[in-house]
């Protein structure tokens, strides 16, 4: 077998194994959550009688391992079960929300990744100049603000003051793509502020690291233009750390945006998960937990595989 393919398969296998282990942990962990579904769902309305009735209706008295097995086999077949709280199909609850989450994540990524990679390259190009320092301090200040605060500031500016973008991003399926993009621009900008600093700093560091290499000096001594050196010689070799940091931030965009969802009334998966945790809606928590974990793991896996492919040493190893 060709080594690089073998490596990729091995990596993928590892990812798959991790997901299986995680599914078990999620199941056990969620089962162990103290507090009762019935009480949590009924809230202040829970009385002895109503709680008992609720428990019975949901067959909570079945042993856990039986429920795990049923859950896992159903999950593989795409049947995520029904919400305990309102009896809806979990897949129906999660499906379009996950699509929304991805939509927001991708919109953000489309702005943030080119922006931060470009800024990172420029900062590396003009390193230790005023420009570099200004970018560095600005991006740093952005990550120093809590994200809800950035969101409020953006809303105050762009919706309340100038009324360019809506303060709510409650997109729905009847909207056109352009309308959706218009609606999610503010949340996407907020998230951009949050992730750009990290990606930009990493890109800058990676490129500067590479700039110390002998082959960069060689390129300079060949009389190559500085911009070309950064783009052609430094950047391809700093891809691996950049890919990794991008993957990490993409994962964050998918799994970590609860607050932005709340502030912008965005119907994403995060809000669903938070609600379900507080209501102990076990099937929803398990399914969305697993989807989040899966997203994280596959992104990391993709980053690793891309890094392998970006490295000619690994890519070409089948020929030598």
């Amino acid at each position: 077998m060709k080594p690089v393919i073998w490596l990729i398969l091995r990596r993928a296998g590892f990812g798959f194994l991790t997901i299986i282990v995680i599914s078990l942990i999620i199941f056990i962990g969620v089962e162990l959550l103290p507090g009762d579904v019935a009480e949590a769902v009924l809230g202040q309305n829970a009385t002895q009688e109503t709680v008992e009735a609720f428990r019975k209706a949901l067959k909570l008295e079945l042993p856990p391992h039986v429920r795990y097995w049923v859950w896992l086999t159903d999950f593989v077949q795409g049947d995520f079960g029904r919400s305990l709280a309102n009896g809806r199909e979990v897949s129906g609850l999660i499906g379009w929300r996950f699509a929304n989450t991805l939509f927001l994540a991708l919109t953000t990524a489309a702005i943030a990744i080119p922006l931060s990679v470009m800024l990172g390259m420029m900062a590396a190009f003009y390193r230790n100049t005023l420009f570099d320092k200004v970018i560095s301090i600005t991006t740093l200040s952005f990550i120093s603000f809590p994200e809800f605060f950035i969101a409020y500031i953006l809303i105050t500016l762009f919706s309340v003051q100038f009324n360019i973008f809506p303060s709510m991003a409650n997109i729905n399926e009847s909207m056109t793509l352009v309308a959706k993009l218009h609606a999610v621009l503010l949340p996407a900008l907020t998230l951009t502020c949050v992730v750009t600093a990290h990606m930009m700093r990493q890109t800058r560091a990676a490129i500067i690291n590479v700039l110390a290499s002998a082959y960069i000096e060689m390129a300079e001594l060949k009389g190559i233009r500085r911009l070309r050196i950064i783009m052609r010689h430094a950047f391809p070799n700093s891809l691996s750390p950049v890919i990794n940091v991008v993957a990490l931030n993409l994962a964050y965009l998918i799994v970590g945006v609860v607050i932005v969802e709340v502030v912008f009334v965005y119907p994403g998966l995060g809000q669903l998960l938070v609600d379900s945790v507080s209501k102990r809606d076990i099937p929803v928590v398990q399914a969305s937990g697993l989807i989040f974990a899966g997203a994280y793991i596959s992104l990391n896996m993709m980053a690793d595989i891309l890094s392998m492919l970006a490295n000619p040493r690994l890519r070409q190893s089948q020929t030598s």
Partner: protein, 541 residues
């Protein structure tokens, strides 16, 4: 009409920024280089030779600056020239060949693209033209499969091939001058020949001017017409090659030229005890491929066994097997007559103490966050429980023994020491354990020639005094000749020849040993030409 001097440097001063101030690192250097002439720059590290070579291209490394003087390249003053002007001459008029081709080729681009980048970017020719030229020059430099080799990535070529590909790349814009910055230092002796041949091909047959920078007089003698000896940024002596080798004016030059003869031959081999016996040892890294096969050797008390081989021959691996870092998969190692557990973890403290090791890179062998006191004091404490005043005294004794003044060095952090001093501290650390046997893994190859000789002398002294045995791993045959009692030659994980020094070094020897010995440059300007002539039929075709 071009001026006669392609390169003319006058009263050059270069400064480097360290210890919070600008210090002179190149001190009033002037040189001339004519078309077709090769000028050798020789000196130990810190002599400023690379800095001068780069300055000839109007380039300084980070933290350095051209302070004053004049650099004229083909009539054009580089001093104070704009970045754009400098860029336009680099590669096109003057090209550079770096010490490590492996590091100087961009790992993510194909060789041919890196070759063509210069001419295409300078607007000299298009890619197709450059590719055709490349094939020609690859062929000329005896690279295998010149049509296709360019399509490979740097990591797919061997060190010698890569270095020749870099020599070829320097020719891509057909510059007037090439700066060779230690192009063979990182190579094994056998591959060094190939590269030297390429250099010679370029300079002589293609009539290019060159600056050849090296620390090895024997090497530079083969290619240079004239030699400048540098020390601490200043000029020691300059002269025509043959003259300089025959009649060096300065003592420093004479020291560099002096041949090492350190040890008297000891042919009473059988009379001392066997310290270490390695029997039928095999080892592997991945569980499948053996990196060591069928290794047998013995080391006797108070003797030095030199383990010789090119990089990748398995000599350092053998050291790891003996120390137990890499447990042998088969075979047996016995130490002082007792079988030694293959795995380090199962060896007792006493055995660990009696078997010490000294490394090639003193920089990485010393923890940069520890003082000399800690470095030497720790084995005392660890093995003997010696602490406090007693330890202090012992440390001072050891420092004295390795010829470093205790008061001056004992509280220094290791990065504050020079390379030679560091290696001495490493020796002291090994001595602190009062060992019977020390593995010396290329202990001198990272050091300058004169410093290295000091270290070798020290090791010899210690052996005489304390009757210590050495397993001396090296690729440098000169060192072997200087100190070994017994020689073991390795190739591809096997021992191909071993025996008493005189026995091994006297013909007839094994074919590989022969090649190895023949490849070591001799201080004779005609050596390379003779060798190449001799080999012409086999090697260069």
């Amino acid at each position: 009409m071009k001026s006669e001097n392609l390169l003319q440097i006058r009263n050059l001063f270069i400064e480097g920024f360290y210890e919070n101030q600008w210090n002179t690192i190149v001190d009033d250097i002037s040189l001339d280089l004519k078309r077709g002439e090769v000028l050798g720059l020789i000196g130990e590290s810190g002599a400023g030779k690379s800095t001068i070579g780069l300055a000839a291209m109007g380039y300084t490394r980070q933290g350095c600056r051209l302070a004053s003087g004049s650099i004229k390249l083909d009539g054009m003053e580089l001093f104070g020239a704009s970045e754009e002007q400098l860029r336009s001459i680099r590669g096109e008029k003057i090209a550079y060949v770096a010490q490590s081709a492996a590091a100087s080729f961009n790992p993510s681009h194909r060789i041919i693209h890196q070759y063509a980048e210069g001419p295409v970017q300078h607007g000299i020719m298009d890619y197709e033209q450059a590719r055709k030229n490349a094939v020609k020059i690859y062929d000329r430099l005896f690279l295998p499969d010149p049509e296709k080799i360019g399509l490979k990535y740097p990591h797919e070529l061997s060190g010698g091939q890569l270095q020749r590909a870099m020599v070829a790349m320097s020719m891509s814009c057909e510059p007037d001058i090439i700066v060779f910055d230690e192009p063979t230092t990182a190579l094994d002796v056998t591959t060094q020949i190939e590269v030297l041949a390429s250099v010679k091909e370029i300079t002589e047959k293609m009539n290019k001017a060159a600056l050849y920078i090296t620390h090895d007089l024997a090497v530079v003698a083969q290619v240079a017409h004239r030699i400048m000896v540098l020390r601490n940024g200043g000029l020691v002596e300059e002269g025509e090659t043959r003259r300089l080798i025959k009649k060096p004016k300065e003592k420093y030059t004479r020291d560099l030229l002096s041949v090492r003869t350190l040890s008297e031959d000891k042919n009473d081999e059988d009379k001392t005890d066997v310290i270490l016996k390695v029997k039928d040892v095999y080892a592997t890294y991945n569980g499948v491929d053996n990196v060591l096969e069928d290794i047998n050797l013995t080391v006797r008390q108070g003797r030095t066994v030199a383990l010789v081989g090119e990089s990748g021959s398995g000599k350092s691996t053998l050291a790891r097997v003996i120390t137990g870092m890499l447990p042998a998969t088969r075979g047996e190692i016995s130490f002082l007559g007792q079988p030694l557990s293959p795995d380090l973890k199962h060896r007792d403290k006493n055995n660990l103490r009696r078997l010490q090791m000294i490394y090639q890179m003193p920089d990485t062998a010393l923890n940069p966050k520890q003082t000399v006191r800690t470095v030497i004091g720790r084995p005392l404490d660890f093995y003997f429980g010696t602490r406090g005043k007693e330890a202090e005294k012992r440390i001072r004794d050891l420092l004295t023994r390795i010829e470093l003044e205790p008061a001056k060095y004992i509280d220094r952090l290791t990065p504050e020491l020079s390379g030679g001093e560091k290696q001495r501290i490493c020796i002291a650390r090994a001595l602190a354990a009062e060992p019977d046997f020390i593995i010396c893994d290329e202990v001198t190859s990272a050091l300058d020639q004169l410093v290295a000789e000091g270290i070798l002398a020290l090791l010899q002294d210690l052996q005489r005094e304390m009757n210590i045995s050495y397993l001396f791993i090296t690729h440098d045959l000169a060192t072997v000749k200087a100190i070994a009692d017994k020689i073991v030659i390795m190739l591809e994980g096997r021992i191909i020849e071993q025996g008493e020094k005189t026995e091994v070094l006297t013909p007839p020897h094994h074919a590989y040993t022969d090649k190895l010995l023949a490849s070591v440059p001799v201080m004779d300007p005609d050596w390379l030409d003779n060798l190449l002539d001799k080999r012409a039929s086999t090697f260069l075709s």
